[in-house]
């Protein structure tokens, strides 16, 4: 395989992997504050892309993206406020079923609000054919936007969780919910906030990826499964692990296409998920001892 081709696969793998990492971080944020996996996480990505495309029809692109992120964050907060909060002492199975139900409703609402067609945002800089050449491989400027955004999200979140009062309060809730409440932290508000943040970063990912992969009403499920795979391999709740695992998975997936049919791509990813779940469910970087203490 020539160097230019290897680089080409590498770039496409890193692009997809960065998006998976952001989705996995969205899973982690909600998991850390609530202990649940939000199966509707992939739908936030779809909503972000779709809303930005609609808003982009009558306002400049940066404003449309900001608007899409804000609206999706509101939707995320609202879902928590209206549905998740109402559940009294839910079991894990009940939480899974509710978030699956929500993801179906969001998807079907999107089908009726928009349509079943393929939409996409315009390229942020340049257009479909503008590209940078690196060692014979072509790189779309949009890839740089994706990588830059993902890096900014990771950096921004780590600053948020270490240097702001709200971020530290959220970490307190994930470490010990009752202890945090005794210190005067409103744990319920923190849960709502975690849904809003994970919805917002999902929507942002949905916007930057839309010019490359385009957006359809049902693109959320496969993104959610891959994001979850990344979250597991990186260790559930571990965001630095998610970045490494995301890039790894993206690259593996990209190279798979070089020797097997495109339609089997998801099979490889999910086979990796099943292998990871059965061999080392605590993830590449998680410790088995702390995993054994977790509530599932």
């Amino acid at each position: 395989m020539p160097l230019s081709l290897i680089l080409q696969y590498l770039f496409s793998g890193i692009t997809a992997g960065a998006i998976y990492a952001v989705i996995a971080i969205g899973f982690n944020i909600v998991y850390n504050t609530t202990g649940i996996i939000n199966f509707a996480q992939g739908e936030f990505v779809m909503l972000g892309g779709m809303i930005a495309i609609s808003l982009g029809g009558f306002m400049p692109l940066p404003v449309a993206v900001a608007g899409a992120v804000a609206i999706t964050a509101l939707v995320g907060g609202l879902l928590e406020f209206v549905f998740i909060r109402r559940m009294k002492n839910p079991t894990v199975i009940q939480m899974i079923i509710v978030t699956i139900g929500l993801s179906i409703l969001i998807r079907e609402a999107a089908l009726h609000v928009w349509d079943e067609k393929v939409h996409s945002l315009p390229y942020f800089t340049g257009n479909e054919i503008s590209s940078l050449r690196i060692f014979g491989a072509c790189l779309s400027p949009q890839v740089l936007w994706v990588l830059g955004t993902c890096a900014a999200v990771v950096a921004g979140l780590s600053l948020f969780f270490t240097h702001t009062a709200a971020g530290r309060a959220m970490r307190a809730c994930s470490a010990d919910r009752i202890g945090a409440m005794l210190c005067g932290i409103n744990a319920r508000t923190m849960v709502t906030l975690s849904f809003m943040i994970s919805a917002a970063i999902g929507a942002l990912a949905g916007c930057v990826i839309s010019p490359i992969t385009s957006t359809t009403y049902d693109c959320g499920t496969s993104l959610a499964v891959k994001g979850f795979t990344v979250a597991i391999i990186g260790g559930l709740g571990n965001s630095a692990g998610a970045v490494v695992a995301g890039l790894l998975l993206g690259i593996v997936e990209a190279f798979c296409i070089s020797f097997m049919p495109m339609s089997y791509r998801d099979v490889v990813v999910i086979a990796i998920l099943l292998a990871a779940l059965s061999l080392k469910p605590s993830g590449l970087f998680g410790s088995s001892a702390s995993h054994a203490l977790k509530e599932f």
């Binding site: 199975i93 079923i97 139900g101 998920l273 779940l277």
Partner: protein, 339 residues
């Protein structure tokens, strides 16, 4: 009590058939028969979710394994290999069927009884293979792992020419069950297929009710109540869960086989994630550990959906049902009986 619900249900089946016959709405029996096959999957899943407390978001995959196995095996033309020993042996015991294909040429096919057996064995093998590592997981991990398994089967069905790729397989021959009883979607066999489908559903329910009442059933309820306590009592929890997973997979595959012969085809849509989630939704409506509730919910919701009553909101209805059930009545709408 159990005998009473059984008799009521059997009576309802007869009453519905007579009523449709008298009012000239016999076409409704087609959807009722299809609803019966789907309800069979639901009953099997209810056993797994309600009694062993294990969620499966991949049960449509087992239905599809059954359907695709029989669609492939029962459509193979054995005529070129007519004189080979295995084919002659099968013919001698009546397990091949001669006939003509839709274009009028003569064919020799395997009896669907063989493909039914093959489908059930295949689904059991897959269930044990996938269940052995996966059933050690709990909660979210188990849900995601079974969901992932479902997506793998969907992708394979969608991407493999043998399974007809996106078009699925059609022209599956009818299933001659016994002399004079044939399972297919023609008008001639509508009433007999209807009775046969509900006979199978009730037979499976009798089997499950007996299982639940046995030593194994008590062990399963102990697992659901508190797995650690059950283990401390000497119950081999992982073995019971695995067997139950395989049993519900085999039931789903059986439903897939009969459905495929009834409708004459199967497509990748039957394996989709949404189908699996529908089965879970119906079990949730019926009340997790309530076989009759699951059966009634399965029949009604599938019948309405197959009649197209929900229109373009078909999937949305099931999503809304899931949320409403979990928020307002996590134990189901049909009153939970004492087990």
């Amino acid at each position: 009590m159990r005998r009473l619900s059984f008799a009521c249900f059997a009576a309802a089946i007869v009453v519905v058939q007579v009523a449709t016959g008298l009012t000239g709405t016999g076409y409704l029996l087609t959807q009722l028969t299809m609803a019966a096959w789907y309800s069979l999957v639901v009953v099997g899943l209810c056993l797994l979710m309600g009694y062993a407390g294990q969620i499966s978001l991949g049960h449509a995959a087992f239905f599809a394994i059954g359907g695709y196995t029989t669609a492939v095996l029962s459509s193979v033309n054995l005529l070129p290999a007519k004189s080979a020993l295995p084919v002659r042996a099968l013919s001698a015991v009546g397990l091949t069927i001669g006939g003509t294909d839709p274009w009028g040429s003569a064919v020799l096919r395997l009896s669907p009884w063989i493909s039914l057996a093959a489908a059930m064995i295949a689904s059991a093998v897959v269930a044990y293979g996938i269940g052995l590592p996966v059933l050690r997981l709990r909660g979210h991990y188990l849900a995601m792992a079974t969901l992932g398994f479902g997506i793998i089967v969907y992708r394979i069905a969608l991407g493999t020419p043998l399974f007809g790729a996106a078009d699925g397989l059609s022209d599956v021959p009818s299933f001659p069950l016994f002399p004079g009883l044939c399972l297919d979607g023609t008008r001639l066999h509508r009433v007999s297929s209807y009775y046969f489908s509900w006979f199978v559903v009730l037979a499976v329910i009798v089997l499950i009710v007996n299982l639940i009442g046995s030593r194994a059933g008590r062990a399963l309820r102990a697992i659901h109540g508190n797995e650690a306590a059950a283990q401390a009592m000497g119950i081999d929890t992982s073995r019971y869960k695995l067997h139950l997973f395989a049993l519900s997979a085999v039931i789903a595959a059986m439903a897939g086989v009969f459905m495929t012969h009834y409708t004459g085809g199967i497509g990748p849509g039957e394996t989709s994630v949404m189908k699996s989630i529908r089965y879970v939704a119906i079990v949730a409506v019926g009340g997790m550990a309530n076989l009759w509730g699951a059966l009634i919910a399965g029949t009604v919701l599938n019948f309405l959906s197959l009649r197209g009553l929900f229109g373009t909101y078909d999937d949305a209805v099931f999503g809304a049902v899931l949320i409403a059930m979990m928020l307002f009545a996590p134990d189901g709408i049909v009153r939970k009986k004492r087990i």
